[in-house]
């Protein structure tokens, strides 16, 4: 575009908004000098912009209200997550006793389906209980009967693997309903407060699967079936870390029951 090209309306807007290329500035100015109507238009636009800024710019200088501070927003975000989680978990609890979970888990021989069904249930449970600040678990890690109790309920010898290599410490566990029988949930917490759960249920299958990845929003889960137990490791959707955790769990069960294979 050359200096003497006709002035477009877009250029007039760009002039007002300070977006006009420098080499067109002189042409626009001389155009306005000889076109009073155009000049009035441009002046009106300028005045509008000034009014708009005058009316609202001070808002940006106001102190930020408490509820809009990032640290409080982070809490609220988890609050919303929790509402969704509760709905999901209720669906799980109802469905778990009446049908969908039962159907999937009783699909004998289909370990993959068993693992994925448990993964969905585990994600729902993870959402619900990870958001619990005061009562995330029923039985604390320190209580000796934790493993005995959950193993008896689930009907398989369970372990609470040492996840210290991933910086995770066992908080404790709780019992969940499942169509094929009770399901155990172990909750771990990291130094930063992040929580990871291990969910275990009888698989009613002697087959096995590889690690299956499942993701639901911000939560990721790795599920597998091995030695008659379905496992799900769920946590913040960071696949590599969950994979390392899953390997630790897998290894713990391997070494505890060498006769299983």
């Amino acid at each position: 575009m050359t200096d003497d090209a006709p002035i477009t309306e877009d250029e007039l807007h760009a002039y007002v908004d300070g977006a006009l290329p420098a080499d067109r500035l002189a042409a626009v100015k001389s155009h306005l000098a000889v076109n009073p109507e155009e000049a009035a238009r441009v002046a009106a636009w300028r005045a509008q912009a000034a009014h708009i800024r005058e009316r609202w710019s001070a808002v940006a200088d106001e102190p930020i209200p408490e509820r809009l501070r990032i640290e409080n927003i982070a809490v609220r975000a988890s609050g919303i997550r929790r509402k969704v989680a509760i709905a999901a978990a209720i669906a799980f609890l109802i469905g778990g006793t009446t049908g969908w979970l039962g159907r999937d888990l009783s699909g004998l021989g289909n370990e993959r389906q068993i693992a994925l069904a448990l993964a969905d249930a585990a994600i729902a449970a993870h959402r619900l209980y990870v958001a619990e600040v005061r009562h995330p678990i029923e039985v604390r890690a320190e209580e000796e009967h934790l493993l005995r109790w959950l193993s008896r309920k689930v009907g398989s010898p369970l372990k609470a693997p040492d996840l210290a290599p991933e910086g995770l410490k066992l908080l404790g566990g709780r019992l969940l309903p499942g169509a094929r029988g009770p399901t155990a949930l172990f909750m771990y917490e990291g130094a930063g407060g992040e929580r990871v759960t291990i969910t275990c249920a009888r698989a009613a299958s002697e087959g096995e699967t590889g690690f299956l990845w499942r993701q639901a929003g911000e939560i990721g889960a790795i599920a597998w079936v091995e030695g008659g137990i379905a496992f799900v490791v769920a946590g913040p959707s960071e696949r590599e870390r969950l994979d390392r955790v899953a390997r630790l769990v897998y290894a713990a069960y391997e070494e505890s029951s060498p006769a299983r294979r």
Partner: protein, 174 residues
């Protein structure tokens, strides 16, 4: 609790850090859009919540543009919600503390903006109040630049007609 939720998404602090300095501009923009300061801050809060929940979806690019996009989408939902329950809509929904008492131009610009179609009001505010480029406005609205230019043109013409028709003393400012 703070520490807990922060640490739940350990790899996402970049977005979080980038959000903080943008909050004043988001509040300013939301106030001009929603007019009512409570509704405006609700909008900002929902925007931040949405951004934090979706931060894994943000892969570089301009954080400000992304946030304004979220805010405008939420505002559209909000207005849709309002229009579904007209009985509850407040007629004079302007926060009193912010209107300049001097010549009433603050309120007139508000009324003028309120009369514009939403997409024109959005463009005008993005460009004049937030100083965004036409390209950024186009990206935020998800339209070509040509559409932004025609919305801007129509917004300015309508606003001029409104202000000059109803408030001749505004010419004084020019």
């Amino acid at each position: 609790m703070d520490a807990l939720t922060f640490a739940m998404e350990p790899d996402m602090t970049t977005v979080r850090r980038g959000l903080e300095p943008l909050i004043p501009a988001l509040r300013r923009f939301a106030r001009a859009l929603a007019r009512n300061s409570e509704a405006a801050d609700d909008l900002v809060q929902d925007t931040l919540v949405r951004a934090l929940r979706a931060e894994h979806l943000f892969h570089g690019g301009d954080l400000r543009t992304w946030l304004f996009t979220i805010l405008l989408n939420l505002d559209r939902n909000r207005r849709r919600g309002l229009s579904r329950r007209p009985v509850l809509a407040v007629i004079e929904d302007i926060d009193p503390e912010a209107a300049p008492a001097s010549d009433g131009s603050g309120r007139d610009i508000e009324r003028g903006l309120a009369l514009l179609p939403a997409e024109q009001r959005e463009v005008l505010l993005l460009v004049t109040l937030e100083g965004l480029s036409y390209r950024e406005a186009a990206e935020i609205q998800g339209v070509p630049i040509g559409t932004v230019m025609s919305r801007l043109s129509r917004a300015r013409a309508a606003l001029r007609a409104h202000l000059e028709g109803e408030l001749p003393q505004l010419r004084r400012v020019q």
